[in-house]
């Protein structure tokens, strides 16, 4: 019995709008929600263009995807997965191939889907459990006939083979999907012992915080609800109920006894992470249970914290690399903003550093999700904001910084390219102007001489 994937009509529209030129394939992501009965595909986006110096794009002699393409696609998947609220995830991939390359498509899809899952789960504070659905979808579309072949793989089993799956298009009304939200106050204290590595300690600290979150009691709309009980009893009777909203409260259990003496460690550094973060999750509309709501919010909370801390750490590392020294004092964590995609009620999110602007967010959304959003539709009010930090406290090059969170993961060629642009800007035109000036001078003098 294969899985059923119900894809929204907008997905169909998008996939048919993608045209390939010549013998070129297009890879992309399928985004939505996994559930026991069926999986919903709500959004799809192609892998963004990777600037390569080579002649062709995405097509090399060694199969449909070379290693650089694969790395690019998995990085794109990771970036996109960080833009998804709770309950939503990257369900799988699609591949549009010309008929002559369709033989290699299944193995490429398999490579892609496993690599993406591996990359996305790196650094995650939670692991897949028995309760989680581990099937991922691959959609192979022939660029000529537009025929789609849908298969699924169990990413828990590295040796799993493709299983046939059903793919059908159906309008998915986002308004009937229950929404679960909460605002969480963070208070993490991490000590860094002598002779320890920063990132290992921080990872440890995040992990022990995540364990407390996993053990925490979650109340839904102020009450303790049994795991298996339905969130919205009798929903089928009233389909026009409007969006159901649920507020979750997270209560941390107290800690276990430690013994007869306090633990004393000699430490070189101390890190404290504080502030309020907004968490959001969507639940599929078919009889969602309390445990789904709780799991979705928990995962969203853990993801948003680990994502932001990692982004900040990478940013600080870049600054250290540029001789700014180890950052101390208060560092603002990126701020979470939410934006509804056109023709959908689902809000995706993005993270903004204090010196980035809403325009940067719009641009990133366009690049990552191939979607145009207006700046007005970006909601930055759900979390308290920092005061804008002056440019001088960040790296000297504003262009380099505004893409800092993305730049280090782009292929190194891009950094080189922007340096080259500077070269062009600075050192190319000045000699040219000099030549023009000399030419004019000679011309004028010649005329005078005559």
């Amino acid at each position: 019995m294969g899985r059923t994937y119900v894809a929204d009509d907008t997905v169909q529209k998008y996939l048919s709008s993608l045209h390939t030129a010549g013998g070129v394939c297009i890879t992309g992501l399928l985004i939505g929600q996994l559930s026991l009965q069926r999986d919903y595909v709500l959004l799809s986006t192609k892998t963004p263009h990777r600037d390569s110096d080579g002649p062709g794009e995405g097509h090399s002699s060694s199969g449909l995807l070379d290693d650089a393409d694969l790395e690019w696609a998995t990085e794109h998947a990771k970036q996109v997965s960080q833009m998804l609220p709770g309950g939503m995830s990257v369900l799988g991939v699609f591949l549009i191939v010309p008929p002559e390359l369709s033989k290699e498509a299944p193995s490429t899809l398999r490579r892609l889907v496993f690599a993406i899952e591996k990359h996305i789960s790196k650094g995650r504070l939670w692991d897949l459990t028995e309760e989680d659905i581990t099937e991922r979808v691959t959609l192979q579309i022939c660029s000529k006939t537009k025929k789609a072949l849908c298969r699924s793989f169990d990413i828990k089993d590295p040796k799993s083979s493709a299983k046939p799956a059903d793919w059908k298009y159906q309008p998915v009304s986002s308004s009937s999907w229950p929404l679960v939200t909460c605002t969480v106050a963070l208070d993490l204290q991490i000590s860094l012992p002598l002779k320890s590595l920063d990132d290992i300690c921080i990872k440890e600290g995040l992990r022990s915080w995540a364990n407390r979150i996993k053990a925490a009691v979650c109340l839904i709309n102020g009450k303790l609800v049994a795991d298996e009980s339905e969130l919205v009893p009798g929903q089928k009777k009233n389909p026009k109920m409007g969006k159901q909203k649920f507020q979750v409260q997270v209560l941390l259990q107290t800690l276990e006894d430690m013994g007869s003496s306090a633990v004393t460690q000699c430490c070189r550094s101390f890190i404290s992470i504080r502030g309020a973060v907004h968490c959001r999750a969507y639940l599929q509309p078919n009889k969602p249970r309390a445990k789904h709501a709780v799991e979705a919010i928990r995962k969203d909370l853990m993801n948003t914290v680990s994502c932001r801390v990692n982004m900040l750490m990478e940013d600080l590392l870049m600054n250290e690399f540029n001789d700014q020294g180890v950052m101390t004092g208060v560092q603002p964590l990126p701020h979470r903003v939410f934006v509804a995609l056109p023709a959908s009620d689902f809000r995706l999110c993005d993270y903004v550093f204090p010196d980035e602007s809403i325009a940067d967010v719009a641009e990133r959304l366009h690049e990552m999700l191939d979607s145009r959003v207006t700046e007005e539709s970006i909601d930055s009010s759900l979390e308290p904001t920092h005061a804008k930090t002056p440019m001088s406290s960040r790296t000297a090059d504003p262009i380099q910084h505004s893409r800092a969170s993305k730049q280090h993961i782009e292929a190194p060629k891009d950094i080189k390219k922007s340096n080259m642009q500077q070269y062009y800007t600075g050192d190319f035109y000045i000699p040219l102007l000099i030549y023009i000036y000399i030419y004019i001078y000679i011309y004028i003098n010649r005329t005078v001489v005559i």
Binding site: A185, L186, S191, S261, R268, I273
Partner: protein
């Protein structure tokens, strides 16, 4: 004794609070201030709106600092505490647990809510690169209030909050008093029931200091509560046992033949009886070392000069005199010896034995004929002279099966006919040491 009379119940609040403190590496004088500051921070945390009380095994959550918000609609500030006993059963499943209705202890745990912050601030990471000692421990909070069952839940919660704050202050005092440099003992509360008080008294002890080291503190407590100096009330083993708690340690351990892989079938009964007595002293807190093995008992007798060196490792019997000697040497316990020339005369010792159990309460070793036993109690009627003895028989060679042990009478009440009517018996009556 704590009197839980009709209409009274105990509300017990527990939980672990994380204590975190950064101590300067070089400047020792600042350390006490830092510790005090961390405790002050914890005291303000328990006053925060994010503190939540949860009733164990139920769906009830209360925010005592947030105008008594509750997760169940039928519970509010004016709910009587007695009704909480009903709430404990009803966890939404509708199943009524087999609960001891006489048990008047309501257990609450505190938790911290991390959602809905009152003053949300933008998320930041703060880093300080300074060498320091990081002290981390979990404070095992344990507060108890005795309430009437018609007292409102709101007022009892207020009392619990005060108790929580007070306990933190007491923990601070104990920590400051007993910390050495960066070595910090965990302050642990114990509850005691005293003859001079109807409510439980809670004392905080540093976990890493043993009872011996706390003797002077106990003297102060005896003075404060006007208690006699000859018997302990404040040792850790004297702590009040809550009705709903499982027994952590039995009154004494049942030592019998063939235990601990020691094949002493036929010769070791007096040794086993002695071991049972030692375990009683250990449970009561008079002895901290482990119960002595056969070899250790024999060695003790050699050490006091009672037996030759060859005694160690032999299978020789010992009698009540030897038991007295070992108790004196290893535990510092003196014992009275009683002698009856005939087993039939034992009932006449009824008064003496009853008195012993009333005042000392220690198990009695009785040896005679060729057997030794342990007497744990006596039921004696002054008017009729009828007597029964609660005997723990060390001749049992079976496994640790309580059912068999009690069913077959290896531990049970015996009449005077149990004894060999013609044999003479020696009884060793250990005296409880006069110490606190």
């Amino acid at each position: 004794m704590v009197l839980v009379d009709d209409g009274a119940m105990i509300l017990r609040l527990g939980g672990g609070l994380e204590f975190l403190c950064q101590l300067d590496v070089s400047d020792a004088s600042q350390r006490q201030l830092e510790v005090s500051r961390s405790f002050a921070d914890l005291r303000s945390r328990v006053k925060a709106e994010s503190l939540v009380f949860s009733l164990t095994d139920s769906a009830l959550f209360i925010w005592p600092n947030k105008s008594f918000q509750a997760s169940l609609d039928d519970v509010d500030e004016s709910t009587a505490c007695g009704e909480l006993l009903q709430s404990e059963d009803d966890d939404g499943g509708g199943k009524k647990k087999k609960k001891d209705k006489k048990s008047p202890v309501v257990n609450l745990r505190f938790m911290m809510e991390i959602t809905e912050p009152t003053e949300p601030s933008a998320p930041c990471l703060y880093r300080e690169n300074k060498k320091h000692h990081c002290i981390r421990m979990v404070l095992p909070m344990d507060c108890v209030v005795t309430v009437r069952s018609d007292e409102t839940f709101g007022s009892s919660c207020k009392r619990l909050l005060r108790a929580l704050s007070t306990q933190l202050s007491e923990m601070e005092a104990v920590t400051l008093r007993h910390m050495k440099d960066t070595d910090v003992p965990v302050p642990r509360p114990f509850h005691f029931s005293l003859p001079t008080s109807t409510e439980l008294v809670t004392i905080v002890y540093p976990a890493s200091v043993d009872d011996k080291g706390l003797e002077s503190f106990r003297k102060e407590l005896h003075n404060r509560f006007e208690l006699p100096d000859d018997r302990p009330y404040f040792r850790r083993s004297n702590a009040f046992h809550f009705p709903d708690e499982p027994y952590k340690t039995r009154e004494q351990n049942y030592h019998h033949y063939m235990q601990d892989r020691m094949d002493d079938n036929g010769w070791g009964c007096a040794y086993r009886s002695l071991q049972t007595i030692c375990s009683w002293f250990r449970q009561q807190g008079y002895m901290e070392r482990t119960v002595p093995t056969h070899k250790e008992i024999q060695q003790a007798l050699v050490d006091v000069g009672d037996k030759p060196a060859a005694f160690v490792g032999s299978r020789q019997w010992i009698g009540s005199i030897e038991v007295q000697a070992v108790l004196s040497h290893l535990l510092g316990v003196t014992s009275k010896i009683l002698f009856v020339s005939q087993g039939s005369e034992l009932p006449s010792q009824g008064r003496e034995l009853a008195n012993h159990f009333l005042t000392e309460g220690t198990p009695v070793m009785i040896g005679g004929g060729v057997l030794a036993h342990t007497i744990l109690g006596v039921a004696w009627s002054e008017t009729s002279g009828k007597i029964r003895f609660l005997i723990l028989d060390p001749h049992y060679t079976g496994g640790e099966d309580l059912q068999t042990i009690t069913d077959k009478g290896w531990c049970g009440w015996k009449g005077p006919e149990f004894w060999d009517q013609n044999a003479y018996y020696n009884l060793c009556l250990p005296q409880r040491p006069k110490a606190i």
